[in-house]
Subunit: 234 residues, 2 copies
DNA sequence: CCAAAAGTGTTTGAGCTACACCCATGG
DNA sequence: CCATGGGTGTAGCTCAAACACTTTTGG
């Protein structure tokens, strides 16, 4: 490691791939991604991932959270770094290296969201976005793959649901992210066998059919088990 | 994404955690890591991971490969980015963000290696290194964890072995990386069942006991199967 | 009473685990 | 002929996959 202070430096940014699951419409069974419309060149008017420059004395996670807040109004969402993109040609202006994160947003509580200050932000089906700026299509695809992997190995899917949820909601979440259908009985058996879901003794309301039980994820217990070597799987 | 060209930028580096398996001494059943001794402050004389600044118009992988070559003489090794470390305090001089990679070196062929130009480089047991500079202990620990994960899910362990190897060598490799012993019969059954090892019809030489069969990993077949949805596991 | 989703068990087969002895080779 | 690692099979068990009907509720 040289002391090459004199060398020009690549710029450093963070980008966020914000995922959400359609709340109200049970028909919108697609993974959603939040994009913003650029108002400056390059790629003026194109849709892009929220993101921006990392400031001095700011950690990467802080930078990602800050940019997300500034550009979309979202805060306190689950954020996880997954890859750093450094192709010198990825930004036409100059060499810009971007640390990409994925974010998981609970659309049931954050309701409409786009009503914040983000007039230029909108949700799209993750597999049917418009043409994206820079290499953001690559970043998006890569984020989805990593999310699929992550959601099988760690209980982070719950970040996309309200605190209390039904097993069907949970199953649909997995189906949407993994892009495959799952067997209802086997899914429930497996999840309940982990004993990480707390039966709240409460029921779904406002549905025109038999109301489902509501569960909560037991974070505390998970952390305890994890330390004892337990490994969440699918 | 603002056009904040005027803002000061964090510096950007790559660091490499170079892993190898002891070749000759069958007793040195420890995962090895390659460190270099710093000859400049800060942390002068401390041991550190090889690495250095990313240059303009150089990709991250290129930068990692270049630094590795410059500082250790190694080239054509397997390199994989695994995490980016950006704590503003991780370098006492200023804000330096580092894209960390792990590298896998075949010590059977690269023999003594340290004989290149790297007078200040040496191998250590990965779990018994001296105190390291910066946050390099954290990076090393993190790299090992990611390697354990990676080696179970993708056939990259072969990068640590010569082109032709015995099943015992392969098993010991997994045992050293995963830090646990494996059942000989079950291990062989599983690996051979994948049908990704080619029996070279040749035998180990120069050993004072029954000579073991030599195998090669069938990369071509693996790539074919992979495209068809096959997933390497353990 | 009808529509819609919730909830529930069993059978089958694949694959993992545990386990011990004979074989080939060089010295 | 001895020491050293190479090489092999099986039984039991666990767990994943496949699969269909009854229950509850609101409208």
């Amino acid at each position: 490691m040289n002391t090459s202070y004199q060398y020009p430096r690549p710029a450093l940014t963070v980008d966020c791939v914000v995922f959400g699951i359609g709340a109200s419409d049970a028909a919108t069974r697609k993974l959603q991604v939040l994009l913003i419309q650029r108002d400056l060149p390059p790629f003026k008017n194109a849709w892009a991932l929220p993101g921006g420059f990392v400031r001095i004395n700011e950690s990467l996670d802080q930078a990602a959270a800050r940019e997300l807040r500034e550009e979309t109004g979202l805060s306190k969402v689950y954020l996880e770094q997954f890859h750093t993109f450094g192709d010198p040609q990825r930004d036409p202006r100059e060499h810009v290296v971007s640390v990409a994160h994925f974010a998981l947003v609970n659309l049931f509580d954050h309701k409409v969201l786009a009503a914040t200050d983000a007039r230029d932000a909108d949700w799209f089906d993750a597999d049917q976005t418009p043409k994206l700026a820079f290499d953001h299509q690559l970043i998006l695809t890569s984020a989805w793959q990593r999310l699929q992997q992550a959601v099988r190995q760690r209980p982070i899917g719950f970040e996309l649901l309200p605190r209390e949820f039904t097993l069907t909601q949970l199953q649909q979440l997995y189906e949407v992210i993994l892009n495959q259908s799952l067997d209802k009985r086997n899914f429930r058996k497996k999840l309940l066998a982990m004993e990480l879901l707390i039966d709240t003794q409460r029921k779904q309301t406002g549905v025109a059919h038999r109301a489902a039980k509501l569960y909560r994820f037991d974070r505390t217990k998970y952390q305890r088990l994890q330390k004892a070597g337990f490994h969440f799987e699918l």
